[in-house]
Amino acid sequence: MNSLTLLMLLPIIGSIAVAATPKANETLTKQVALATTVVVAVATIAMAVNFERDNVDLQFVEKYSWIPSFGINFALGIDGMALVLILMSTVLAPIVVLAGWNEAHGGRWSVKVFYVLILVLETMMIGVFAATDVFLFYVIFEAMLIPVYFLIGGYGTGQRSAAAVKFLIYSLFGGLLMLASIIALHVMSGNQGGHTFDLAALSQLQMSSTTQNFLFLGFFIAFAIKAPLWPLHTWLPDAAESATPGTSVLLLGVLDKVGTFGMIRYCLTLFPDASKTFTPMILVLAVISIVYGAFLAIGQRDLKRLIAFTSISHFGFITMGIFAMTSQGHSGAVLYMFNHGFSTAALFLVGGWMISRRGSSTIADFGGLQRVTPVMAWSFFLAGMSSLALPGMSSFVSEFLVLVGTFTRYPVHAVIATFGIVLAALYILIPVQKALHGPTTPGNENLSDLNLREKIAIAPVIAIIIALGFYPAPLLKVINPASAHVIAQMGFTDPAPTNGDK
């Protein structure tokens, strides 16, 4: 079986086809790109159907020798967590292409280049979640930066090149710290029975606790920059403000998930003891992120920056769920990653349409959109409700699981984090009120409502948000075994629930 390789090849083939389309026929270019992403999404769904939910081992495993002298393999395989994230990425891709149909026109380069970059990025998004060889993961982790860099710098708005450089420098710095850790792993594996980068084999390495702590930090800082965790988050608002909405969806929705995914897949698996050592510190950072992100979101005047700060708060929840070391917390964190992908996509895409219609991203410039453009306003409202985790929306389930999972072991953190929910209500309801309700701000009277293409793009996102809000079981059944497996491997058992009657 080599279905994962095939899945990775599909977007590449698509990108070649895109490159071959005539320059004058931009519609054809977009259609080819859309068709490719749809095919990839369908293929992923087919794969998800064949996935054995209760099997905690890696599935769809494949392995080819790549650089034998360093023990590097092109090795892929997915567990429930990876499957969910790949599913999220490939389902988001066609939505992004369809929603951002005209995004590439303001760019420095042609429309073709935009879609080639998007498709190459899609291949890497699949690969980064599917890699089971640490070196392969690192290669994709770093190589992914290049298309994103050009997407932000070439097609964004405002201070796009500065934002792109900031993004790249932060990420490269983190990546190089990780490289130092990977080099140490490489040498240690060589001393303990032959060079290898196989994740399972590396997790068996013997190392002193000091070494483990340093190597853990190398990985963790790289992931914390990516995720982004306070105080390493400062690149994100700039990048999100400058990037096109579609790029922002891929950046915040998918790429940043590599950070939280990496914490589980690499930090916890490779360095279980160090993870336990650093847990108190990381939990504090996570709680700060939750509250800090929420406060700053309230203060934002720019719609895109607001969404970026809400994400910092949400990534705080995800990180807290991961390091709470309970199976609910874990499942909640993974589900949160999936849900955050869609609710952020909804916010960015609808926000992007509002901005492009109004020609401004300042929240105060909107007002009374409910009357002028009801469909757009309702979509934004629903996206906002999902972001503040209203019961009935998918985010509620995951946020609740994270809080429950954290409370059983770290009640104080969970209680403080709960304030994040209250603040979330503020940061969403204030812009909703300003932008959608009240009298129509002069200049907005003639804004057009969503057209058919935009409706088709946003409908599945909102459908998924609501469907999973009421019935998250299909995903949780895939995630739970994987989460329980990770927690058990770490040597944790869930604390018994306590109640006030005792």
Binding site: R108, I146, G153, L176, I183
Partner: protein, 505 residues
């Protein structure tokens, strides 16, 4: 005293002999062939002898010999690998050198004199750069296979003297070019003196000038250690000067900037392979058992070199100077391969040297293309918007820069990973950490150039990109293919290196 005729193994020495023969024919061509036919004749001879030499190197790849030239040279796996790298890099460089536009018509004429103008107007272009290149390459081939200090010194001078001349051949800004040549020559002579001084001390220590003899003395431990330490220190000065490591780097930015760009490319890439080749051999064989005498010194030099090169490169506004400081930083990275002192370190160094050399030639090839009416434009501010005007040229340059920065899927990344792993294996953690940090610093200025090219609007100042001539295109494409291939599928080359890379002693 009875005269013993020297016994030479001509097959094993043939790569150098072919090049020297080609160079001598080139001198004759310069004297006797008409000026119309000269460029093409010289180019064919040069390329022909380089290719022939490469074929010869390939044929002797599995040979091992310590007696090929009466014990003066060693032919072994690393020797073959170094020689092959030098020849391949030289071939790519020759494609650039073939563009006579860069070279003064009459090097002997005073800058700005009537004679010079006359030579230029009548198209009386001399082509002595070809034989000079071949002489230098022959010296470079000898350098890493020398097995005694005298041969090593002869090779050092043999590769340096033509380079001093070549640095002064630029057609534009001839005074700067001549200043560069003079500076290179004076400092080079100075470092040669240090080198000889060190050799004398090593002779005093071991009463031998051969590497094997020095090694035996070090292993035996009977000699005067002070002599050994002074000898190693002074010899290192000579070698570190050639590779451009801190604090012996001062010549390189000026020379890189002043020399004609094809010569800079050749010098930066090929000299580094040769000098590191010799350095690896002498430190891995003769001085291996005195590791604790020199390793701390090299660790400090490596760390300072990496950080210094990366930090100072940030402040550069000239693309050639920036590449010069970047090459200083790379010298620091390469020193960690010497410090590693294990088989992994040797393999990694050879891979790194080849990958870096090829990318360097490719990078300078791009520099030769960006011109205005007065010649090359090296001011980075005028590279703004290059990606808009000539996207392929800018993309190629970006890929070379990404390789220098060590971004995955380029050869630079594999090299960096390999060389730092080897250094870490030997416990040189500090070097690895400094290397990673300076890579992060270095990434900043490489990316800044990419930003300038792609994300800044072009300024209308008459800067244009020359449509690459056929030969320059070959050089760029060749370098590009190697840079990407070694980044994506390095396994065949790594295996080839791994099979051969063992020094015989």
């Amino acid at each position: 005293m009875e005269f013993v005729a020297p016994v030479l193994n001509y097959t094993l020495l043939s790569p150098m002999l072919i090049l020297l023969g080609g160079a001598l024919i080139g001198v004759l061509v310069e004297a006797f062939v008409s000026k119309a036919l000269r460029p093409i004749t010289q180019l064919s001879i040069t390329l022909g002898s380089l290719v022939l030499a490469l074929v010869q190197v390939w044929r002797i790849r599995n040979e091992q010999s310590m007696t090929a030239a009466m014990g003066s040279v060693i032919i072994d796996g690393p020797a073959v690998l170094m020689q092959a790298s030098i020849i391949i890099i030289s071939i790519i460089s020759v494609f650039l050198i073939a563009d006579t536009e860069h070279f003064t018509a009459l090097a002997a004429a005073l800058p700005g004199s009537d004679e010079e103008r006359h030579a230029l107007q009548t198209g009386n272009q001399v082509t002595e750069v070809y034989p000079l290149t071949l002489f230098a390459v022959a010296g470079m081939l000898l350098f890493p296979i020398s097995s005694d200090l005298i041969t090593l010194f002869v090779a050092l001078e043999m590769l340096s003297l033509p380079l001093y001349l070549m640095a002064g051949l630029s057609r534009r800004r001839r005074l700067a070019s001549q200043e560069a040549a003079l500076k290179y020559f004076l400092l080079g002579a100075f470092s040669s003196a240090f080198f000889l001084f060190g050799a004398a001390f090593l002779y005093g220590y071991s009463s031998s000038i051969t590497f094997a003899g020095i090694r035996n003395a070090v292993v035996g431990g009977a000699g005067n250690d002070v002599f050994l330490l002074i000898g190693i220190a002074f010899l290192s000065v000579g070698l570190l000067f050639k590779v451009g490591a801190f604090p012996f780097h001062a010549w390189s930015p000026d020379v890189y900037q002043g020399a004609p760009t094809p010569v800079t490319a050749f010098m930066a890439a090929a000299t580094k392979v040769a000098a590191f080749g010799a350095m690896l051999r002498i430190f891995y064989t003769s001085f291996a058992n005195a590791q604790w005498s020199w390793s701390p010194m090299l660790v400090v030099i490596a760390i300072v070199t990496m950080l210094f090169g990366s930090l100072v490169a940030i402040a550069q506004r000239d693309v050639k100077r920036m590449l010069a400081y970047s090459s200083i930083a790379h010298a620091g990275f390469l020193l960690s391969g010497v410090i590693a002192l294990n088989k992994a370190g040797l393999e990694a160094s050879i891979f790194y040297l080849f990958a870096y050399g090829v990318a360097t030639v490719g990078g300078f090839a791009i520099v030769t293309l960006v011109r205005d009416s007065a010649g090359e434009v090296t001011d980075l501010n005028r590279w703004k918007g290059l990606g808009k005007r000539s996207p392929w040229v800018a993309t190629a340059f970006a890929i070379f820069l990404l390789s220098f920065a060590g971004i995955p899927l380029t050869s630079g990344f594999i090299g960096k990973f390999a060389i730092f792993s080897a250094a870490y294996e030997n416990g040189a953690t500090s070097v690895v950490i400094a290397g990673v940090l300076s890579s992060a610093i270095a990434a900043f200025f490489y990316i800044r150039v990419i930003v300038l090219m792609f994300f800044t609007d072009p300024v209308e100042d008459g800067t244009s990109v020359e449509i690459p001539s056929g030969l320059t295109s070959i050089a760029v494409i060749f370098s590009l293919v190697i840079t990407i291939a070694l980044g994506v599928f390095p396994a065949p080359v790594l295996n080839f290196i791994s099979d051969l890379a063992t020094f015989i002693r």
